[in-house]
């Protein structure tokens, strides 16, 4: 058929369609020659590329023929003629269990794994058909036996099924058992125990399919969760599944009683194996149930989740645990139980293997087939069943470690963080999941988190809920981001007061608030009443602390001596518990608020600015709030995409990071605009430097750069993302070894910028600390009422302050016109003065903790920078030594092709570094950074210049100074030693904190330990290489690169790469060794 023969213009909604299939087949089809396709401009040929070709043996499963035995296999489903023994059940369930994980692990189809078992196929088919039993035959296959528990009931069943007894009795005629016993044994095993286990297994499969269908992982790329046509997924049957499994257990135990005459020990083991399977299948339900549980992150107590489902049917479930609607801990009992059952299988593997090897019943072997691919599905090409070695390779040890132990450890880490939830700890959690420890998670089980599709999809859904909350708590993603920013840049910031003090009431969280007073509603409900509350909550302590039960928290403050309980003896964590209640026990909230506003009032700038500048929620206009809300919406979407990246596989994660760079870049621009707006328009003047009151502020402030807290923090996140994107390419083996030099050079650049931005944050923090110290001194001076009155008079120039002061004074029985000469007013001021000092000192302590965090961060990036610098230098040395594995290749052929095609000779290759093909490769390699405003993208010329500058052993005419080259190893060693020292210092600090009773995340230990090991390995390797180089005896102290390469080769030295250096950051720095071949 000619192209464009028919171009339909169809109005779908108003067209009456006619089925022309038969006409097409009878007339047109006959005129189309074989291997031709119908073409038309109304459809693109590309669409056809996804089609399955009929009769193509590679693609069309319906065209397949199976061996004669296949029809037998297909028919036997729960065949009464072939009742199953304990051994058969163990063999089938064992294989099915492994196949389930092979489905997940190897991205196999369901048809080639779990559904390749004809029993499973039949079970799911019957469920899909009517989800109920309709015929007598089905009744035999799938009858539920709830009513047959007593001996009398069994007699009744035996009688009812008499017509089927014959087949059962044919088996084991000589085993000495009564016909009734034999019948019950076979019937119960085949139709109840086995069936219940299959239901449990299908339930797991169904739950996982639903997990994958939630849209956080990619179909086909991460997992193939499509069921063959004609089958439906098990839906919300968890409770009944547990009931089925419990009944299966009961009946399995009855079988053991019935077969008491058999070898009790063997059967005892087999029963234990079956019960262990049953236990795993029962407990698995808990995993998906956790996804609907909400956790309380803000009011910690020691409550744990109650399992709360059908516990009357399930063993080992603590039914006494109260169901807490908002627990603060995940109950990991179900995982511990599964780990225990799998460990049991691990220990009994020899016995299970023996059962499999000695079993002669053909049914358990033949019940796995490719048949379902032909019978039910024609949407995918035919696939082979997994090889027996692949099935055997999916051992219980592998399953246990990769799926259950790792998840259990992760949840323990979550519990630690939940118990100690605050901004600092949550930050640690983010690091653990998203950033520094992308693949860390082994702890004691030697595997990585994030590798399995179950972990990736489950963790994201568990952590980030549909409403963008964390763990279903009242904490939203955006709040975490802002909380983080607050921690780094916003504490004691007027910006934060503004941000959290005002927002338009349309925001859902604001609407959720009970208060209608917009003035005191926080942006996302973080602060329902007052800006101070949020700041306090950063370090708020769990309620359990007051009960003295929480692990790892500082001891409860002693209040015996009131003087000792003042600021100097309190931990910064006490800020959250501090209130002004001592001012007056009956003070209403509004008065408390006014007091806090007074305390937060910036004494320094107030005195100099002369005009009201303190921006509180009370003087923010609606338009300002709208501006803020719009910006925070952008924050939310950026952060959501960034954080939900956890569900992606490592390859896609890197691609999403690339996209996040653009998002953060846009956000940074918006944030900077907003920061400047608050600075210029709202008058929230924050600087990176503290200026004493007595200096000429107005003159100095004009020259000081504004602090830009929001933009600075977004920039920090962007740089993190850029560095992560860059270095994660190494373990994915996206870079060839010759590229590692420029990758690490670029990495050092990002690390350096991170240090600069952290230093800037530190400067801001120091300025705030200096300001606080200044304030403290000022307040201390105010012990003298006359001085205080003078200051208050000064403060009154600000209307906002005046308002709050008048409120406080009114409450204290004074008036705004009353001066400090009033005795009652003096009393008020005195009390206020003490409170003020206490709070200021606690704030100072908090800022010191922020400084500590910033120093930790700087140390971390210093250590990464040294790793990158060392690696860059080392690879350049290797390259100059002629170590081929890292030598830069030449691409003369393509350079010529491009040059020929170029119409302009000026763009031909070789004129400058940035015109060369190598520069094109450099540009392509770092394309993701090309669109970023800051930091400046680096060019190939810069790389060449920087590298040349480092190579002091290389002369202008490319000759190598042998002595300088050898000594260059010392400077490389210094870089790695520096990393070693920085990481070691951090570990020592953690150790010390630990010995001081501070509980630390063990993930952090893991991360640092990995990095430490990595730096040690690199140091050792370089040391050995240096020794090898020193043994060489060059003919001349100055040699050409070619001669050096010859010398290296003559000694049979060659480069060797070791990728498996470690997890986390360690995987970013593979070892390049010089070895003797």
């Amino acid at each position: 058929m000619a192209e464009n023969a028919f171009v339909p213009q169809i109005d779908i909604l108003n067209t009456q369609f006619t089925d022309v299939t038969s006409l097409f087949l009878s007339l047109s089809a006959s005129s189309i020659p074989p291997n031709q396709v119908v073409q038309s401009s109304s459809f693109a040929l590309f669409e056809g590329t996804h089609a399955l070709e009929i009769a193509n043996k590679h693609l069309d499963t319906s065209a397949l023929t199976f061996p004669a035995t296949e029809s037998t296999v297909a028919d036997f489903n729960f065949n009464n003629d072939s009742p199953l023994q304990f051994d058969d059940i163990i063999i089938i369930v064992d294989k099915l269990f492994r196949l389930t994980f092979l489905w997940l692990e190897n991205n196999q189809m369901l048809s080639t794994t779990v559904l390749s078992c004809v029993y499973v196929e039949k079970l799911l088919l019957n469920y899909t058909k009517g989800k109920k039993i309709t015929t007598k035959q089905d009744s035999l296959k799938f009858a539920t036996l709830w009513d047959y528990q007593t001996e009398e009931e069994l007699d009744q069943l035996y009688s009812q099924l008499k017509s089927y007894q014959k087949e059962y009795l044919q088996l084991s005629q000589t085993d000495g058992q009564s016909p009734r016993a034999r019948f019950l044994k076979n019937y119960i095993l085949t139709h109840t125990t086995f069936r219940s286990l299959l239901i449990g297994l299908v339930n797991i499969m169904s739950q996982l399919i639903q997990l994958f269908r939630s849209g956080v992982v990619y179909e086909e790329e991460d997992v193939i969760s499509q069921l063959p046509q004609g089958l439906e997924v098990w839906n919300k049957m968890e409770d009944s599944v547990c009931q089925e499994l419990v009944m299966g257990d009961i009946w399995a135990k009855k079988v053991e009683c019935v077969t008491e005459a058999d070898a009790a020990t063997t059967n005892g083991l087999k029963l234990e194996l079956l019960l262990s399977y049953s236990n795993i299948f029962k407990k698995m339900n808990e995993l998906t149930r956790l996804l609907t549980r909400s956790f309380n992150l803000t009011n910690s107590n020691n409550d744990t989740i109650g399992i709360g489902y059908g516990s009357e049917f399930v063993d080992n479930v603590d039914a006494s645990t109260p169901t807490n609607p908002n627990p603060t801990q995940v109950n990991t009992e179900f995982l511990e139980s599964m780990v225990s059952s799998l460990s049991f299988f691990e220990s009994k593997q020899p016995e299970v293997t023996k059962i499999i090897q000695t079993n002669t019943n053909i049914y358990s072997a033949q019940c796995f087939s490719q048949g379902i691919q032909k019978r039910l599905s024609n949407t995918r090409p035919l696939n082979k069943l997994p090889a027996s070695e692949d099935i055997a390779g999916m051992s219980y040890a592998v399953i246990n470690v990769r799926y259950f132990k790792s998840l259990m450890n992760w949840l323990k880490e979550v519990n630690y963080l939940m118990a100690n939830f605050n901004v600092t700890n949550f930050r640690r959690f983010l690091e653990l999941v998203f950033w520094k420890s992308g693949s860390v998670g082994s702890f004691d089980c030697g595997t990585t988190w994030g590798e399995t599709v179950v972990w990736r999809s489950w963790v994201q859904l568990f952590m980030i809920r549909d409403n963008k909350s964390l763990f279903g708590s009242d904490v939203k993603l955006c709040e975490v981001m802002l909380g983080q920013m607050n921690w780094f840049a916003g504490i004691e910031s007027g910006w934060l007061n503004m941000a959290f003090g005002g927002c338009q009431p349309e925001h859902p969280r604001v609407n959720a608030s009970s208060s209608n007073n917009v003035q005191h509603q926080g942006v996302f409900g973080i602060i329902d009443t007052d800006p101070m509350e949020f700041i306090q909550r950063d370090l708020s302590i769990p309620k359990s602390y007051h009960g003295g039960d929480a692990v790892g928290l500082p001891p409860k403050p002693q209040k015996k001596n009131k003087k000792k309980s003042k600021s100097k003896t309190r931990s910064p964590a006490d800020v959250g518990s501090l209130s002004l209640s001592s001012f007056n026990g009956e003070a209403p909230a509004s008065i408390m608020r006014s007091l806090e506003m007074i305390i937060n009032y910036d004494l320094v700038f107030m005195e100099s600015a002369k005009t009201p500048y303190y921006c509180s929620s009370s003087n923010i206009k609606v338009s300002h709030r709208e501006k803020l809300t719009e910006l925070l919406g952008q924050v939310e979407s950026t952060v959501f995409e960034w954080m939900s990246n956890i569900s992606n596989n490592p390859s896609r994660q890197r691609q999403i990071l690339s996209r996040s760079i653009v998002n953060f870049d846009s956000l940074q621009v918006a944030a900077e605009r907003f920061d400047l707006w608050t600075h210029e328009e709202l008058g929230i003047k924050e600087y990176t430097q503290f200026v004493p009151r007595k200096q000429q502020l107005s003159a100095i402030l004009r020259d000081l750069p504004p602090a830009l807290p929001f933009a600075t923090y977004v920039y920090y996140l962007k740089l993190q993302t850029m560095l992560q994107y860059l270095l994660k390419g190494t373990p994915l083996q996206i870079y060839k070894p010759w590229e590692w030099s420029c990758v690490n050079w670029y990495g050092a650049y990002f690390a350096d910028n991170l240090i600069i931005v952290l230093n800037r944050m530190k400067q801001c923090n120091t300025a705030k600390m200096q300001k606080l110290r200044y304030k403290i001194r000022e307040v201390e001076k105010l012990e003298n009422p006359a001085k205080f009155a003078k200051l208050v008079e000064l403060m009154k120039q600000d209307l906002v302050f005046k308002y709050h002061l008048s409120e406080v004074n009114k409450f204290a029985g004074t008036t705004t016109t009353t001066t400090s000469s009033s005795s009652s007013s003096q009393s008020v001021y005195k009390t206020y003065n003490h409170q003020c000092l206490e709070i200021l000192q606690l704030k100072l302590a908090k800022l010191m903790k922020v400084e500590d965090s910033l120093l930790d961060e700087m140390n971390y990036y210093e250590s990464l920078k040294s790793m990158c610098r060392g690696t860059h230098q080392l690879l350049e040395v290797y390259s100059n030594l002629g170590v081929s594995v890292v030598c830069k290749p030449e691409f003369t052929w393509i350079e010529t092709v491009i040059a020929k095609a170029s119409s302009s000779s000026s763009s031909s290759v070789g004129f400058s570094d940035d015109d060369s093909f190598m520069a094109k490769l450099f540009g392509l390699r770092f394309k993701s950074f090309s669109s970023v405003g800051v930091p400046d993208p680096l060019t190939f010329s810069q790389f060449v210049i920087a590298t040349t500058k480092d190579q002091k052993y290389l002369s202008d005419n490319n000759m190598v100074n042998w002595g300088l080259l050898k000594s260059n190893f010392d400077s490389i060693l210094l870089e790695f030693s520096r990393t070693k020292k920085l990481v070691k210092d951090q570990l020592d600090k953690l150790e010390k904190e630990s010995s001081d009773g501070v509980s630390n995340s063990f993930g952090k230990y893991n991360q640092l330990t990995n990095l430490l090991k990595c730096s040690i390995q690199h140091s050792l390797t370089i040391f050995k290489t240096k020794q090898m180089i020193e043994t060489l005896e060059p003919e001349s102290p100055i040699m050409s690169k070619t001669d050096i390469a010859k010398l290296i080769k003559s000694q049979n030295y060659a480069g060797e790469i070791q990728y498996e250096v470690g997890e986390g950051e360690a995987s970013w720095f593979p070892l390049v060794k010089l070895v003797k071949k």
Binding site: N35, Q36, V37, Q39, L45, F46, G48, T49, A51, L52, E53, N56, H58, L59, N106, N107, Q108, E220, E221, D222, P381, N383, N649, P650, S651, R652, R654, Q655, V662, L732, Q733, I734, Y735, K736, P889, F891, W893, I894, V897, I898, A901, F917, K920, L921, G923, L924, R925, K927, S928, S930, S931
Partner: protein
Amino acid sequence: MNMSDIIYHPLDANNPQDALDVKRLVDLDISEPYSIYVYRFFLSQWPNLCILAKCEGKTVGAIIAKLERHRNVRMRGYIGMVVVNRSYRKQGIAKKLVNLVIEEMVKEKADEIILETEVINEAAIGLYENIGFLRVKRLHRYYLNQHDAYRLVLPITDKSSIRSAFLPPPDSII
């Protein structure tokens, strides 16, 4: 047989046998199953970028490629399949086919040329990387056999170093 016995020419649209030969070769030697529609998609639209290697009239190798505008901002070439009969391997036929198709694409103003290859196919990766292709992405379980793939890109012009979203559309180029 020596290399001079091998004749390279683009697909002859008037010779149905050429298309059948290509399909037969690919079906035999490439693990990924392709339907007739895949071949038709490439061969009908870019016959000049389907080059055959013939030895004494027998098709012993083929390359299938396309060249089209990507996101309306750059010309992107794509190498879909390269196959050489097992008996004729290790003689540079694949390299020659790739070189010919690259030259053709560069002539037709390609800004970049991309392809995917299995991470375990060291021979193919070596062939492309020696030409100048760079790995830019790893694609998780890209193939039906569950193997990951690398996306390789050969930059021809500077456009390949700029994100699509930041490239001006052709209309705005003066």
